[in-house]
Structures are given as C-alpha cells and as structure tokens.
Subunit: 334 residues, 2 copies
C-alpha cells in the first residue's frame, strides 16, 4: 500500500475503532470483553475503508455518519468471525486465541449476538449523525440483505466440507455470499450516504462484488502459502478442516489419482499428522492450483477495476485510492 | 382468554406467520428448516399481539406495516430461543426437540444468526409497507436496544447459575433485560407506528416493562408447577440447570438449613437423580416461595394495569383487550 492509502485506511480505522469502543459498552463485563476481543486484536479494517472511499468519493460530506455506518459493518464482520470460529473450531485469529477458546462456546455465541445488535444499533445512529431517515433505512436494507447472504454462504461452506465434488461455480456462489456480499454492502452504504442514484449504487455494488470474490480467493491462497506467524492464524487450517477452497477444488481436479486420494484422506480427516498435511499442501502446489487461483483472483480484480472506471466520482482522489485498494487485495502478501 | 381476545391473538398470529413464512425463504434448505423449526412448532405469539394492540389502540391505520414490525419481533424472539436453548442445553421446546438437538450446535448458531438478520430485514420493510422512514428508524432503535439488553440479560442469567447469593433485585434486573425489554420494545414499536408522542411511547414502554416482569415470574413458577406435557418442555429444567429463578431465590432464603443444603446440591448438579430433583421442587413449594412469587407477579401486573389506565387510547376495544392480555399473563395455567 502507498503511504497515502495506508494513512487513509489508518485514519478511518481510528475513527471507526473509537466509535466502536465508545458505543459497545455495558455492565456485563465478561460479555463485553469477549465481544471486543477481536476488535482489540487488530485487523486491517478494509471494509470501513471501502464505506468511506465510496461515500466520500461520491460526495457524502458527513464523515461522522459514514464512520458510524462503517463501524456498523466492522462490528457485523466481527460477529461473523466469532461465530464462524466456533463452527470451524479455529483456535487462533489475528494472533490471539479465538473467543470461544478463551470464554467458552456459550459466551462466544452471546458475544456474537451482542455485536450483531450493536451493528444495527450503529446503523440506526446514522440518522442522528446527519443522514436522512430514508438513507438509514436504505443502509439497513443493504446490511440485512448481506447478513442473510453471510449466513447462507456459511451454511454452504459447512455443507461443502462433506462433499468431494464441489464445482468452481458452487465455490464462487458460496464466497459471493460469504465474503463478497458484505463488501457489496460497504459500497452500497457509502453510495447511499452520498445520495447516489440507484444505478450508481448498483455499479458500486458490482465493483465490490468482483473485488470481494478476488479478496476471498486471495485469502484462500494465503492460507496455504503464508507462514502461521504472518497469517495471524494457523497455516493450513482450511486443509485441516476439509474446506473446499479454490486451490483445493482445482487441485482435486488436476492431481494424479494417487495424490488425489491422499488429499481427500486429509480433507476427510482420515489422515491428520503434520507430515500428511504438509504433503497435501505440496500436492496442491504441484498441480499449479495456486497459480491458477492467483490468475482467477487477478481476473476478478481486473473486472472490478474496469467497472470502477465506469462510475463518475466527485472526488477523484478517493477513486484512485479505491483502485489501489482493489489492487492491494490481490497483491497483498498476507 | 375471552373468545374476543383469543380470536384477535389468532388473527394477528396468522398474519405474522404468513409474513414470516413468505419472507424467511432461501436456497440453503437445511439452514431454513432449522430456522423455521420453532415457528412451525406453535407458540402463542403474544409479542406480536402487543405490537398490534398498542399500534391499533393508539391509532395506527396501517395494519400491514404493524404486522411486519410484529413479525420482526417474533423472529427476533425465535432467534433468542434457538441460541438460549444451546446455552441452556435444553432438549425440548414447544413440544418438539430443540434446534441444536436436531441439526447440531453449528447449524443452530447459524439458524439463529439468519433469523436475527431477517428480523431487522422485516423492520426495514415497514417503510415500503406505508410507514415514514423516521418511524422505521425509530422502531429499529427500539429493537436494537432490546436486543442488546437481551444479550446482557442472558449473560446475567448464565453468571447467576454459578452463584448462591443472587438477590431478588439482581433477579429483577436480569429478567427486565432478558424478558421485559422485548415486551417494552413491542409497546414502543406499536406506539411509534401510531405516531404517538414521546411521553406516550414512554408510558407504553412502562406498561410492558411491568407486564414483562410479571410474565417472566409467572413463567418461572409454571416451570415448577406444571406438568411436562402441558409445558411443552421438560418440567424442572430451571432446577436442573441451576437457574436462579424467583421461586428458587426465595426458597433458598426461607428453607431450613438441611433443605437449603439439599436444594443447593441439586442446583450445583452434585445431586441429579429424579428423586433428588423432585425433593428440591417439594422444598421450594414448602417454603411458600410459589405463593410469594405469584403475589409478586400479580403486583407487577397490577402496576402495569394502573399505568395502562393513564394512557389515552383512540380505540378503547384495544385497550380493553390489552388489559385482558396483561391479566392473562399472570393467570395463565401454562
């Protein structure tokens, strides 16, 4: 990331974090500690940056309202991380133990539920922060639609764990819901705050749909290629959990029958030693699945950039930063 | 319940159920089956009735918008049941196996999350069903505040399981959040739909705060006194789970030291045979805790009725039915 974009993202992150820390407060200490665990552990806050970039770029002058909406998105994202970690039995996230590992599953469920409530609470606040009520309602619709898709995407992801024959099309549909839908909502929310016309909102959505798909493909790649310390979570957890990520789907198609058999046994947890898992990762790499996935991620990012060019921005600085952000999504090392 | 009130509640239930069944639909079959499990299993739909009674009583003419808001509340209530059942390890609800018992904990978490999203989605819809956007935003604020309190109340309830010294004041604060907050929101939402003045909304809230507390106390009593078949869930589950309900708190204060010791051992699950649990129930009854709890429930209901008299209704039929509904809350046999 350029210094300019890095500073912008950090500024948005600070604004959003301060809203979250001031808003998400209450008397039941343990519950709130659990709820704020990942917020305090860091994270890039890319989604809030997308809300701000589209919002400011398309002419919204109320930065505070934008930050409240961006905080709502980040809080919603955080709740999904807490609940997904329970379902995926993940033990480490953002370099810290997962919420259910520290506080137990019951408290983790409740901490997620609390954040969900705060997310919509923050959206409701955008009216008193200067937006028109219809803008708040419109943002609410975008966010609830994304929330529904998030749950559907997670259900598909879980179902795919028990299947060997997941197609690339099914995978793409799953990540569109599980990951891209919230990025789409970020674009829509920013555009709504800027009172953009329906067709502009739709175009903004499409940009982030493609960028969101690229983001998830890249995430799946990094889960295989990047070391644990850099990743903030254990390497190969997708392989261990039998997830059908793009590199894994491609590898299952391309591998020799012997390699395919080994890979399937690891994905089905019939083999689970570190050596077995390492060998599965080497099989995936050997098929060229990483390169093919990289190529697809870049294609989706290119499509996003192309669509972005078709939107007239009031503020071209923001458009330039959005362009760079989308490029970062596929070029990032972790 | 009088025939008039029964018919009214049934009519509202039908309207709300049909909105829920039409709205909560999607491609991931298992997830939607799990989410709709309790909706299909029945339930009284008291909360939707409260939304409608305040809404129509205070002069809202858009019945459809009211039903959408009422459906949002019912869906929110259903999500809390699914997640609470996981945390409380309950196996039966409304006469059917609990969601996590049928579909597993992961799918139950996700089904709850999906309903949460639909709840706010239905609130967002009230604008297109005829309300002004500011009314929708105001309803959203009420519902998110209640959601936050629901999670806080559930956290208190869970924490109380590990304590012997929970006071009546702490119990009342817990059920105000866990149960009364959503009834309060029902009153507020109805009043907002009717464009009631802020002070009327506040009064309506107070009515249902007291009625909601009475409702929960009565629920706690019925959990001890009513047979499993009528209850739709196993009798004595509060005792089994070590819950600090009002009858239990009172009994712990009044019981002889020998009885208290037995009761505590059962609550701490050190003793858990059916005979031990039956004996604990007899101890609670012997202390007069049931009668004292009944008295308190009636006091709260009386306070609710008194406050209700202080509100001017446009439609006095609805006021009369609300009065009867509040009386039903404390007189019901299950």
């Amino acid at each position: 990331m350029s210094k300019e974009l890095l500073e912008y993202v950090s500024r948005v992150a600070r604004a959003v974090d301060s809203i979250i820390m001031e808003s998400v407060r209450g008397p039941t200490r343990k519950l709130y500690d659990a709820a704020l665990h990942y917020v305090k552990a860091g994270g890039k806050r890319l989604r809030p940056a997308v809300v701000h970039l589209f919002g400011e770029g398309l002419g919204c002058s109320s930065t505070e309202a934008l930050s409240y909406a961006a905080a709502a998105v980040e809080v919603l994202h955080t709740y999904t991380l807490i609940h997904d970690d329970i379902m995926d039995k993940d033990t480490v996230r953002r370099g810290v133990p997962t919420v259910h590992t520290v506080w137990g599953i019951d408290m983790a469920i409740l901490a997620g539920d609390l954040l969900y409530a705060y997310s919509f609470h923050l959206i409701a606040k955008t009216t008193e922060k200067g937006l028109e009520p219809w803008q708040t309602v419109s943002m609410l619709s975008s966010l609830t639609e994304a929330s529904i898709e998030l749950a559907e995407g997670q259900a598909m992801d879980m179902e795919f764990e028990n299947r060997d024959d997941v197609s690339i099309e099914e995978y793409l549909e799953m990540i569109r819901k599980k990951t891209a839908a919230l990025f789409e909502a970020c674009a829509a929310i920013g555009a709504i705050a800027a009172r953009a016309a329906p067709e502009v909102i739709e175009k903004a959505r499409s940009v982030m749909r493609y960028a969101g798909i690229a983001f998830q493909i890249k995430d799946d790649i990094l889960g295989i290629t990047v070391a644990t310390e850099k990743l903030g979570k254990p390497r190969y957890s997708d392989i261990r959990e039998g997830k059908k990520t793009l590199p894994i789907i491609i590898a299952l198609r391309r591998a020799s029958s012997e390699d395919r058999e080994h890979l399937l046994k690891v994905l089905k947890k019939e083999l689970n030693s570190e050596t077995d898992i390492e060998r599965a990762a080497r099989i995936i790499e050997r098929t060229g699945a990483i390169e093919e996935s990289e190529r697809m991620a870049r294609d989706y990012a290119s499509k996003a950039l192309e669509l972005l060019e078709g939107i007239d921005f009031v503020n071209d600085d923001r458009k330039r930063m959005l362009r760079e952000l989308i490029e970062f999504i596929v070029s990032r090392g972790y």
